[in-house]
């Protein structure tokens, strides 16, 4: 047909253009219509992604890839050249589809959510910039360009989390997010540099080729790359920023901290699956970290009262799942391909249902007048019907109940871990342990998800006072009537419905016939896969995970629907555990004590040194001033003084001329 390769530039280009247009024309011209450029841009991007996906899916080659021409020497130092080109294979296509589709839905939703906020154009400009950076990250063809876009999404995350920057909590949260991910990024760039030093290139294919020829000592760079993924994807120990990042607007949280940016780490590991598959120890570390994080986050989410926090911790937990799956990718029998594709599949479905859940939370929050504490509202299923049903779809997907989306992807991950447990010689027992942890966490996931669901939508109907003072589509004279319309605009309902449909059917469509695994197996990231993996359904696993999920849902229903007092009694029975969970296992306090305070002291010492240096500089600056004060006395306003000076210098000049020369 036509050259889809050249179209690749449209995928990051359209949102970038939209961001530019919104930034320049938004404040004065577009004002409350500033959402149109970004919505159109991301929709266009989505269309191109679909075209790309079809082109790759129907392409006959074994590992089809498309390359977009760019700058072949973006910068060159000596005879080292770094090209700026875009490259797309099936892995990129899947990610792009998720990013752009969910992004478009969130952009539409944002036009409702942010409708009465100041800085409306700024929000959309940053969102456009974010979409451009994220798609660029996925399309990068070498590590440095990836890193550049990595930083770009970090910047946009900072800008969006700190959107209401006048609020100190939001500004602090933005700073925290940026700094914590920075720690990960430091490791990331170190890893890239070690790879470059060892293999002499930044390009993916070149590095993979040379690494498979010479895999010694690959653990260190892989660990460092994983360090970057830990930071960006909020794994233990750098998970502390994600819950605080909920200070940002909810659609931003949906986009960035649920669906896309935090999945950049997963994408990185999937892209470098070749490298990681060569180092089983690193894979073990990845799995352990992922599993531990999943469990930790699930335990914290059990007791949170803030709905958004629950969802944030559940994101951390699901990301842990993805890393658990990635880490199960051992070299043999195409398990690496299967594990990685399972993780990406979970990323894909997670994008849908987590974004959906966040958007419903946003809908609730907006309708309840910016109240998101579950203790203050309840029984909202009649007041917010569309929100209720879509939340239910998302919750079922998250809980992993068949045939909703989450079931298929989570199942594949569990299967991969089980295979690893069977097949790994050195670490088999550890993987089995991780499998058990994963099953338990799946149960916990179902539990806390439905805890949130029942507390929000069932029970006695309670609507907080702020809901009536907030101007979102209700008549102020009609207090107390259940005929309030909290859900008004199409922009509010349409994305929720679309994503809910996705959350329901995507998993079944892609996962049941293993289409997505076949598609991902054709990615150039999996150069070593000689045989495509075989798929047979492990019925025991299916039954086991369904039992766990149902148990979780049932327990939640019993504790929060039927016997509401039971929760408090359980909490009182184990007060220290409960408090540890509520206080997020004291990680923030630990970091403040161990890291932040020493750094603050250090900064104080440095400031003292700096004041000395400044003092010296100021002293040097004082010399002209003192000299001038001395010289200034010459100007006394009398003509005769001036003439005297002229005469004296004339004499001096003549004297030098006459007496010294000749």
């Amino acid at each position: 047909m036509f050259d889809v390769g050249a179209l690749l530039w449209a995928i990051p280009g359209l949102p970038l253009l939209a961001a530019g247009v919104t930034a320049c024309l938004g404040p004065n011209l577009l004002k409350r219509q500033s959402h149109w450029p970004v919505i159109l841009g991301s929709a266009g991007s989505c269309a191109v992604s679909v075209i790309l996906l079809f082109a790759l899916a129907t392409s006959p080659g074994q590992k089809p890839a498309l390359e977009a021409p760019g700058l072949s020497d973006w910068f060159s130092i000596g005879d080292f050249q770094l090209p700026l080109t875009l490259q797309a294979d099936s892995l990129s296509a899947v990610m792009l589809l998720a990013i752009t589709f969910v992004g478009t839905m969130i952009a539409i939703f944002s036009s409702y959510y942010m409708a009465h906020e100041d800085g409306y154009p700024r929000y959309f400009a940053v969102m456009g910039l974010f979409l451009a950076a994220m798609t660029g990250l996925v399309l990068a063809s070498n590590f440095l360009v990836l890193y550049a876009f990595w930083e770009g999404v970090g910047l946009c995350s900072y800008l969006l989390v700190g959107f209401w920057f006048q609020k100190p909590a939001a500004a602090a949260a933005a700073r925290k997010a940026f700094l914590v991910t920075r720690i990960g990024d430091a490791g990331f760039i170190l890893g890239i540099m070690i790879l470059w030093q060892r293999y002499g290139s930044f390009d993916y294919s070149v590095v993979f080729q040379r690494a498979s020829a010479n895999p010694h000592g690959l653990e260190l760079p892989c660990l460092l790359l994983f360090c970057g993924a830990i930071g960006k994807s909020a794994q233990f120990p750098l998970h502390v920023w994600l819950p605080d990042a909920m200070e940002g607007p909810t659609p931003a949280s949906a986009l960035i901290h649920a669906a896309t940016m935090v999945t950049a780490g997963v994408y990185l590991l999937a892209r470098c699956a070749h490298l990681f598959a060569l180092t089983p120890t690193t894979q073990l570390v990845v799995s352990c970290v992922g599993g531990f994080t999943a469990l930790l986050a699930a335990l914290i989410a059990l007791t949170q009262h803030d709905l958004k926090r629950v969802l944030a911790y559940s994101t951390v937990s699901q990301l842990g799942f993805m890393f658990l799956g990635l880490g199960a990718g051992l070299r043999d029998n195409g398990l690496a391909v299967f594990a990685a594709s399972a993780a990406i599949f979970h990323l894909f479905t997670h994008a849908f249902f987590k974004a959906l859940l966040f958007m419903t939370a946003g809908s609730i929050m907006n309708s309840m007048g910016h109240v998101i504490d579950m203790r203050r509202f309840g029984g909202l299923r009649r007041v917010l019907p569309v929100t209720h049903w879509t939340f239910l779809c998302g919750a079922l997907a998250l809980a992993g109940l068949a045939p909703f989306a989450g079931f298929w992807s989570k199942d594949q991950i569990l299967e991969a871990v089980l295979h690893a447990g069977h097949q790994s010689e050195a670490y088999g027992t550890i993987y089995m342990g991780l499998f058990a942890v994963a099953l338990f966490t799946a149960g916990l996931t179902a539990f806390y998800t439905f805890r949130a669901y029942f507390r929000t939508f069932w029970g006695a109907e309670r609507i907080p006072e702020e809901a009536y003072h907030h101007g979102h589509g209700h008549d102020t004279e009609d207090h107390g009537s259940s005929k309030h319309r909290f859900e008004t605009t199409l922009a509010q309902k349409f994305p929720l419905v679309v994503l809910a449909i996705g959350a329901v059917v995507i998993g079944a469509i892609l996962g049941a016939p293993h289409w997505i695994n076949a598609l991902l197996a054709r990615s150039t990231a999996f150069v070593f896969a000689k045989s495509s993996p075989e798929f047979h359904v492990n019925w025991w696993l299916v039954i086991g995970s369904t039992v766990c999920a149902s148990a979780g849902i049932g327990l939640a229903a019993w504790m929060y629907l039927i016997k509401p007092a039971l929760a408090d009694k359980l909490a009182a029975a184990a007060p220290s555990l409960h408090r540890a969970s509520t206080q997020r296992f004291y990680f923030d306090e630990l970091y403040t004590f161990a890291v932040v305070k020493p750094l603050a002291v250090f900064a104080l010492v440095m400031r003292f040194f700096d004041s000395i240096v400044d003092g010296i500089v100021d002293l040097v600056g004082m010399f002209p001033r003192w000299f001038a004060r001395f010289l200034r006395t010459v100007q006394d306003g009398l003509v005769q003084s001036y003439t005297l000076i002229m005469l004296v210098f004339l004499t001096a000049f003549l004297a030098i001329f006459v007496l010294w020369t000749r």
Binding site: L638, Q640, L644, L647, T651, L654, A655
Partner: protein, 323 residues
């Protein structure tokens, strides 16, 4: 140490300039008007001493006393005295009259330098127009004679010191550039006298130290710059030196070289003397003015016009005139 030695050597070399300057500084410090400490007697004495010492500097013994000399010293002396009166008078009207005296004497100097038209022009314009205008303004402004400000002078000592330092530098420079120029004439005379001797030995004995003579001649040549006559003179001196230095030169050769040197030397001496100016001074002035310097004349006319307009514009506000 060398600094002191250099300074001592300097003072020793130029004491005849520094002495009149020091006396003049003292004189003016006492003469310049001030409320207390003004001593006219002492100042006048010092001033006369300075004038005489300075005059001695100019005086060259051995020259004939011509009317020009007498007139020069008279005019110069009276001009300087007029200048000093101008500076030290308290009464501004008297100062203006002293300026008129200076102008008249400067006119006399112009006459001595064959510039009669300029003398007339200076007298008419300065003494006739400018001083009268000044006196008019003075009468308008200070009818009561002299005011407080006239009684005081600003830093008389420092100003006198600075001024006479400048004069000292100028005089030292002049002294070095125009020393007693009889050296060349006398040396040429000596050469001419030795030329007519009969034999070689007598020539040589009369010549005396030939290297000394050659050195003097070369110094004189160097002093006078690099014009073509000087170059000719230098070449002649070099030839003479060569001839005198070699042992077997004949009398005729030596005489030849001496003749050449004397000829070139006379040309140089002629160059030093002032050249005659045309007697029809006004005509020559007019010719030069309106042919070579026509543009400047036009600019001068424009300048006068602009100055007139400017003066009228500045001072012509009758409405502001206060009684």
């Amino acid at each position: 140490m060398t600094l002191f030695k250099d300074m001592a050597a300097f003072v020793a070399a130029y004491w005849m300039v520094l002495l009149p300057m020091a006396l003049a500084v003292a004189a003016l410090t006492w003469l310049l008007p001030r409320p207390r400490g003004r001593s006219i007697g002492r100042g006048a004495a010092c001033g006369l001493a300075a004038l005489l010492a300075g005059g001695a500097l100019l005086f060259r013994s051995g020259r004939s006393v011509t009317p020009e000399t007498v007139l020069f010293y008279a005019f110069a002396g009276m001009a300087i005295l007029g200048g000093v009166f101008l500076i030290v008078q308290r009464n501004p009207a008297r100062a203006a009259i002293s300026f008129a005296v200076v102008v008249m004497n400067v006119g006399g100097i112009f006459l001595l330098q064959a510039a009669p038209f300029l003398m007339a022009a200076t007298l008419i314009i300065y003494a006739g127009a400018i001083i009268v205008t000044f006196l008019f303004v003075l009468m308008l402004a200070q009818q009561t004679g002299f005011s407080n400000a006239d009684d005081r002078s600003r830093e008389p000592f420092l100003a006198a010191f600075a001024g006479f330092m400048l004069l000292g530098v100028l005089l030292i420079g002049l002294l070095r550039s125009y020393p007693e120029s009889q050296t060349l004439a006398r040396t040429i005379e000596r050469l001419e006298s030795t030329r007519d001797q009969a034999s070689l030995q007598e020539i040589r004995s009369r010549l005396g130290d030939s290297t000394e003579i050659v050195r003097l001649l070369r110094h004189e040549a160097m002093r006078r710059g690099g014009s073509s006559r000087v170059i000719d003179f230098e070449n002649a001196v070099i030839d003479l030196e060569a001839v005198l230095g070699s042992g077997q030169a004949g009398v005729e050769q030596i005489r030849l070289r001496i003749d050449e040197v004397c000829q070139a030397g006379h040309a140089l001496i002629r160059q030093d003397e002032p050249k005659p100016l045309p007697a029809a001074n006004t005509k020559a002035l007019g010719l030069s003015l309106f042919s070579e310097h026509l543009f400047a004349v036009e600019m001068g006319g424009t300048l006068l016009l602009v100055a007139t307009i400017g003066a009228i514009a500045i001072a012509g506000r009758r409405a502001e005139a206060t009684t």
